[in-house]
């Protein structure tokens, strides 16, 4: 059972509007889910960390708390790590709750990076939680979660 009815209703109204505009089209409501859910995000995280415990801390996720345009959101992930041959960040994985796919990006670095920091720009389809997880060379996982409010969503369902 979906807990959120708003997107379905919105989609229904949009489809109904199109059908009315075109006139002769039969009204078909497709209920293909086009958003990831916290469950699919959890599954995507499990696929990366396996059964390991993910601890909170060490990771810093720099993303604007209020985003006007979800089509291009700057994001910086950094980890407090000495980045030596013995103690470094192996990879950084960023996940989201409500885009059609739960992944925002995977980044693989090594001790030669010198600084464990990655910047990129992402699309966000809705206001949601973003989680960044870092895999360290000792096999531990560290994470941080940030809330982002998006006023103009990325056009995942836009009709062009």
């Amino acid at each position: 059972m979906r807990t959120q009815t708003a997107p379905t209703r919105r989609r229904f109204l949009r489809l109904a509007g199109h059908a009315a505009a075109i006139g002769a089209l039969p009204l078909v409501v497709r209920v293909r889910p086009v958003e990831a859910t916290p469950e699919t995000m959890a599954a995507a995280i499990r696929a990366v960390v396996g059964g390991a415990v993910v601890q909170t801390g060490k990771v810093k996720l720099d993303i604007p708390p209020l985003v006007e345009n979800g089509n291009s959101v700057p994001m910086v992930v950094s980890i407090a790590s000495p980045m030596t041959a013995k103690d470094y960040v192996k990879s950084i994985h960023v996940f989201n709750e409500k885009n059609p796919q739960p992944n925002l990006g995977n980044f693989y670095l090594g001790p030669r990076a010198g600084r464990a920091q990655v910047s990129t720009r992402v699309r966000l389809a809705d206001s949601q939680k973003i989680t960044a997880i870092a895999r360290l060379s000792d096999g531990s996982f560290w994470s941080v979660t940030a809330e982002v409010v998006v006023t103009l969503a990325a056009c995942t369902e836009e009709v062009i």
């Binding site: 089509n71 925002l104 990006g105 030669r112 920091q117 990655v118 699309r123 836009e158 009709v159």
Partner: protein, 106 residues
């Protein structure tokens, strides 16, 4: 015409941590949009990015439809020796682009 923008310092001291900024022009079509007739616009994204420093891979990224158009990625590395950075982007529909930048380490 695809173009890549690369920003690597021309010179660095040995042991310096330097930032490398990259931008590749690409539509990054998500595959989740559809036309007025209901047709899904097929996915066309860059799926993978890699950077090699004198032949050795120092950074790699998996990209997703959630990466904004014209993917911008920046990361760091330690300047160890003079030489060349090779960048490679690979994506849907046979997309494959490379770029290079050189650095002098003193």
């Amino acid at each position: 015409m695809t173009t890549a923008l690369i920003n690597v310092p021309k010179k660095a001291k040995r042991g310096d941590v330097i930032e490398i900024k990259t931008l590749m022009s690409h539509i990054m079509e998500t595959g989740y949009r559809h036309t007025t007739s209901g047709q899904i616009v097929p996915r066309d994204i860059i799926t993978s990015f890699a950077c090699r420093y004198n032949g050795e891979e120092i950074f790699r990224a998996d990209l997703f439809p959630a990466t904004a158009a014209n993917p911008f990625i920046s990361f760091f590395t330690v300047a160890t020796e003079s030489g060349k950075f090779d960048f490679e982007w690979i994506g849907d529909n046979g997309f494959s682009e490379t770029a290079a930048a050189s650095i002098i380490v003193e």
